[in-house]
């Protein structure tokens, strides 16, 4: 028998048909952009694109873990706004203090969600909706509804501007480490496998003696932590804590996860495809900006949203109608 562990493209496609659409769409958009716009492939566009989208990637991969358990986290946008304020307040103490504490405050919200869901038996939708409202109010209270400027004298602002080895901005390095780390956790550790098993069948997982509660708590805490990191990126990128930001981010994150082919019911999905989903959504904006720059036609920000929605719809339609057939998985009744 052949080595079954070697990467086999045909096998990947047959096992993950729902993830294929996002890669094709991403590829098509990139080729389109490269052919049509001169500066699309410039180092400047690539780094600023990734720099800006790092926060969306961070909350999307966190969201992916939650959705894989069969849950949902609506609080990520508000939590990111909250932690951006926390990070801005703490910025005088330097990045090494501000970043961990801001992330930790995000983890705190995530743990609160987890406790409500796992021990309080509150449906994830409701529990995280409540946290969303609470975090929103909290960030307005601690900031007095004002943007909080970061301390320009500290090294906090270096995060978004200075580059590791003079090439890649630190934001991108951090989000890259996050992606690879979570990819390994999901694919290679028992914790990750337990998360997939819980989403694929919670009762079955209990019967198999898996640590179901621990897996769920981890997923929500992780999602909160990722939102915390997104808040840090937000504060460093804009030079201020933004209590009013984050509206609708949870929906973008859910869209990235779903476009990436992760089942909303959990149990099946992937981190790289989620990242591809987040990049795809960002790329639609990027391309529309280039198109506006050409001066032929001009799309207002509102029309950009409409176009992004339509594009998303088309990819999902393609995914479900064309690529996504799953007759080979029959469920034992």
């Amino acid at each position: 028998m052949l080595d079954q562990n070697a990467f086999d493209m045909r096998k990947y496609i047959s096992r993950n048909p729902q993830s294929v659409a996002v890669w094709i769409a991403l590829f098509v958009l990139i080729v389109f952009g490269l052919l049509r716009y001169d500066n699309f492939g410039s180092a400047y566009n690539i780094t600023s694109f990734l720099n800006y989208n790092a926060m969306f990637i961070a909350i999307s991969v966190g969201m992916c873990f939650v959705i894989l358990t069969g849950g949902i986290d609506l609080s990520v946008g508000s939590v990111a706004a909250f932690t951006s304020v926390v990070a801005a307040y703490l910025s005088p103490y330097g990045i090494e203090v501000a970043m961990p504490l801001a992330i930790l405050s995000g983890v705190g919200f995530g743990l609160f969600n987890a406790v409500c869901i796992v021990f309080g038996r509150i449906p994830p939708f409701i529990a995280t909706l409540a946290t969303m409202l609470g975090a929103k109010g909290g960030s307005l209270v601690i900031s007095g509804a004002q943007t909080i400027a970061v301390d320009w004298g500290s090294n906090f602002t270096h995060l978004g501007m200075e580059k590791a080895m003079g090439i890649v901005p630190w934001t991108i390095v951090l989000v890259g480490i996050l992606i690879i780390g979570l990819w390994i956790v999901l694919e290679m550790t028992s914790l990750g496998r337990t998360i997939l098993a819980v989403g694929g069948g919670e009762d079955a997982s209990v019967m198999m003696g898996l640590k179901v509660n621990r897996a769920k708590i981890f997923a929500y805490a992780l999602s909160g932590g990722c939102a915390g990191l997104a808040g840090v990126f937000l504060a460093s990128g804009f030079g201020a804590g933004q209590p009013l930001e984050g509206v609708g981010w949870e929906l973008s994150a859910i869209a990235s996860v779903v476009v990436g082919g992760t089942l909303l019911t959990g149990g099946l999905g992937s981190i790289p495809a989620t990242v591809a989903g987040a990049l795809l959504l960002g790329l639609v904006f990027n391309i529309l900006n280039f198109e506006n720059g050409k001066g032929w036609i001009s799309f207002s920000a509102y029309w950009q949203m409409v176009i992004r929605g339509a594009f998303l719809f088309a990819v999902i339609l393609f995914q479900t109608r064309v690529m996504y057939r799953r007759p080979n998985v029959e469920f034992a009744k």
Binding site: Q4, N5, L210, V329, F331
Partner: protein
Amino acid sequence: MAPLLTMTGIKKHFGGVPALRDASLEIEPGEVHALIGQNGAGKSTLIKILTGLYRRDEGEVEFAGAPSHLSSPRGAQSAGIATIYQELNLVPLRSVSENVVMGQEPKSFGFMINWPEAHRRTREILSRFGIEIDVTAPLGSYSTAIQQLVAIARAVSMDAKLVIMDEPTSSLDSSEVEILFGVVRELKSSGVSVLYVSHFLDELFQICDRVTIMRDGKTVGCREIADTTKLDLIAAMLGRNADEIEAEGLTELAGGSAAFDEVVLDVDHVATGPRLSEFSMSLHRGEIVGLGGLLGSGRTEAARSIFGLDPLTSGTLRLNGREFKPAEPSEAIRARIAFLTEDRKAEGIVPDMSVRENLTLALLPSLRRNGQIDREREKELVSEFIRKLGIKTSHMDQPIRELSGGNQQKVLLARWLATKPDILILDEPTRGVDVGAKREIQAIIRTFVDEGHAVILISSEFEELVEGANRIVVMHEGKSVSELTNPGITENALVRALAHHEDATP
């Protein structure tokens, strides 16, 4: 040798209702031990206590020579007790290997799952069972039989000392059953004990060493398989005396249905799949025909075939002399057939709706006038049924969940009667209903047939069948095998008919 497992004096209550009164079980190392009993005898409760899903109220459990608490599935599993459930408790979306090693994955560097090793280990165990499959494919892409064997492979990989199999063959065909039996023998020869729960008595004689019989939450006997007979086991399960049944002898089961001459429904060699392979019966106007048989004999499937729930693969149904092929329940309902299902909670009542709304759910189209529900007529109809059936409700707008089980059942019965059916199929109509309401429901059914309609009655309670039915069609392994007619309908005759057919199959 000391027994592997000893359970004694196990008691368990659910909200004051006893599920186990005094259960005991003893299993030797390397033994295949059968556990049998009627529905509700307490088998599943006992198993769930053994697997740590429920906690016992009282009683002692000793496993592998030490007292055992069994407080969680995880604890039971690490103690060496693995369970293969009827509804498979694996994750179909995930790979075969994952389902086998989850919880005890081989690791490298202490945290990374060593997938090549996991796949190798899974392949090795499955090949011991004679199965060569791609272990990286999703479990759900394989047949139920393979999935079941994967579940057993999981138990083996966890070093289980005791494997509990709950109705393992109920969804397997005969060649798959042979493979399963091979695996059971393989487990036995490697010193693993198996607790085998099945209502197919023939199987027990093929692979089990001993059998424990439960009835009404109590253990009523434990025998060597070699020293027992099927009649003996059935009698013990039903709480009857085997000698008495034998002694009564073979009163001729002849008779006739002379009183009923107009055939409304004629079922001719109908099959819908492995669980209903040959079903024939006729139903006359004014008659109640009972379907008798043990669990899994195909009684419910027989009813489903008539109601258009399972498409016929062969055979014919004739309704009032004309061929009848219901593709879905709505066609059966239009042909004036009604089916009161066994599962009142899942398929019957809408708990938060009122008595009135529940009663008229199936009637809404006929109550419509000018696009609105005719409230006056609805109220009239509902109060008529509440009166006629003696439904005890404070008001017709009381939520149905506040009613007793018996009164809920009457509402469901009224819902179907209101559609003016000609044929009423009742699956366990009085299960979970108190004695008073039971009598009333039986009286309603009798009135219904006396008005010139017909009823097919399915019941696990022999008493109900014998008292209520004009005729009893006996089912066995998906086939209608014999018929009891008056005056030959007695409980003992029914037990004998079942035992006879249990014996008749090799």
